[in-house]
């Protein structure tokens, strides 16, 4: 995390700089099935973040050495578009995107019924088009909707959401300034139906009590985001296009 307490992030009335209360998340919009070339796809706008995900497969897994005899492999790529950040980033993978791809894959592997598709591969392509803090969480949410849109069977969907700490106060869903100048960040991947966690990271400084409160905020937000995810999928399959 960045600086500690030297930047004012809370107003005198306890609200945040963008007017949200401490347990209020940024607005979330979701659409399913927006990429015609993909088997399944999703678009998620969370605050000013925009993530688009395409799912391809199940398809033949190659090279053959990556095949598993008893299950499918998930090939997940998280990538930031060059224009998604304040300073342009060079195209291609870096250490950060490789790590996020890995932990995102492991989160999704925990819910996808991989044993249904032995020796095959399912590709999940996460593209971040605009970044305003919390893109890994937005990517996970979008990937879940895209997998469901592709008709891939899952035990549950995964909602990505983070809480954190600013000016010694626990808040839900950090925006860019709060992420840059805050004291802690706790992103989680939550299965809204089973209540399980399949993704967890944290950096900064949190007491046990603060961790518990941040977790409570995350679960509350996950239930709200889950409703939006379900509505997006229903809109796609009830009334044709979302």
């Amino acid at each position: 995390m960045g600086g500690y307490g030297d930047v004012k992030l809370l107003n005198d009335d306890g609200t945040r700089l963008d007017g949200r209360t401490v347990d209020e998340m940024r607005p979330v919009e979701i659409k399913a099935g927006i990429l015609p070339a993909a088997q399944g796809s999703a678009w998620v706008k969370h605050g000013l973040n925009v993530a688009v995900v395409a799912v391809y497969g199940p398809m033949e897994a190659h090279p053959r050495k990556i095949q598993r005899q008893d299950r499918a492999v998930l090939d997940v790529r998280y990538n930031m578009a060059p224009f998604s950040t304040s300073d342009r980033i060079r195209p291609g993978f870096n250490r950060r995107s490789r790590e996020i791809s890995k932990v995102t894959a492991e989160a999704l592997e925990s819910v996808v019924l991989l044993e249904r598709y032995p020796r095959s591969k399912i590709r999940v392509e996460i593209e971040i088009l605009a970044a305003e803090a919390g893109t890994r969480c937005v990517g996970i949410t979008a990937a879940s909707v895209a997998l469901a849109d592709a008709g891939i069977p899952m035990r549950d969907m995964v909602v990505g959401i983070a809480s954190g700490k600013i000016q010694d106060t626990v808040v839900l869903d950090l925006d860019k300034a709060e992420d840059n100048y805050g004291q802690a960040d706790l992103p989680m991947g939550i299965c809204p139906n089973t209540g399980e966690l399949v993704f967890l990271q944290m950096d900064g400084d949190l007491s046990i009590e603060e961790y518990n409160l941040a977790t409570e905020y995350n679960y509350k937000a996950a239930a709200e985001i889950h409703e939006i995810m379900v509505a997006a999928l229903k809109a796609r399959y009830d009334g044709g296009e979302a």
Binding site: S84, E127, A130
Partner: protein, 261 residues
């Protein structure tokens, strides 16, 4: 969703061509529906989304301060690149930029650069020391055929609506990027023996050579590219050039209608 067997697809395209039909029901010179949105991405100084039939592409413009090339101390720079990432189609694999994506980026780049729509001198801040570098990145998200035209349109629309972030770099006030023209590309592919405008995915899979034409405001040619195996006659080129004039004019008006929004 599954790709048809190419030889059967080719036969079908040839059969349709005999009665001058196309696989998606269009006339030979018809364009698919095109939707353009601009200014949609936070952090990009200019952005555009083009939905062109089943093709979806985004373009984003970023600026950086750099030292000018020694032989051009009063000129800024322009760079346009395209990425064909695996998100766009199951046929695209991860890895370093493919020859296809490099060709795509360079053809779009030439059309914009050679039209002279960006005044490189106007990108100079301190001669010999500080100039703007303008970077257009094109991101193909869904390849449903004719990504060239979609990328060209997204790039110029993002550029024409871009704001130079001078305040963030502490070199003056933010201002609209001066762009003097609207180069637009029109692409053709030989399908079933004759050229068609705006090939769809099946026509690209079962077609032969393609020709890309970029026309500026005065209907001057600014970039041409012939791709893939095949041979064509000057008479065929003259015919598609006429079609290109009409379509480029229409799309130029679409871009103009986005400005000032």
């Amino acid at each position: 969703m599954a790709a048809p067997v190419p030889s059967l697809l080719r036969q079908e395209l040839e059969r349709l061509a005999e009665s001058d039909q196309r696989i998606d029901g269009r006339g030979r010179w018809d364009r698919r529906d095109v939707q353009l949105e601009v200014g949609i991405l936070y952090n990009a100084e200019g952005s555009a989304k083009v939905t062109w039939g089943d093709t979806v592409v985004y373009a984003g413009v970023k600026f950086e301060l750099r030292t000018p090339w020694p032989d051009r101390p009063t000129q800024g720079s322009l760079m346009c690149g395209a990425e064909l990432r695996p998100v766009a189609h199951r046929k695209y694999e991860p890895g370093p930029p493919s020859p296809q994506s490099i060709e795509l980026g360079r053809v779009v780049d030439r059309g914009i650069r050679e039209s002279g729509c960006i005044d490189m001198e106007a990108l100079c801040i301190v001669p010999g020391e500080k100039v703007w570098g303008v970077m257009i990145d094109i991101h193909v998200l869904s390849d449903g055929g004719n990504i060239f035209d979609a990328c060209g349109l997204a790039a110029i629309a993002a550029l024409r609506t871009a704001v130079v972030p001078a305040e963030r770099f502490d070199v003056g006030e933010d201002h609209v990027l001066a762009v003097k023209g609207t180069p637009v590309m029109a692409s053709f592919q030989r399908v079933g023996g004759r050229f068609v405008y705006d090939p769809c995915e099946d026509e690209e899979t079962g077609g032969e050579e393609r020709i890309h034409i970029t026309l500026g405001n005065e209907e001057h040619l600014h970039s041409l590219q012939k791709g893939l195996k095949g041979a064509f006659t000057p008479a065929e080129f003259a015919e598609i050039l006429e079609v290109a004039r009409t379509h480029c004019g229409e799309l130029r008006e679409l871009v103009s209608s986005m400005e000032g929004n």
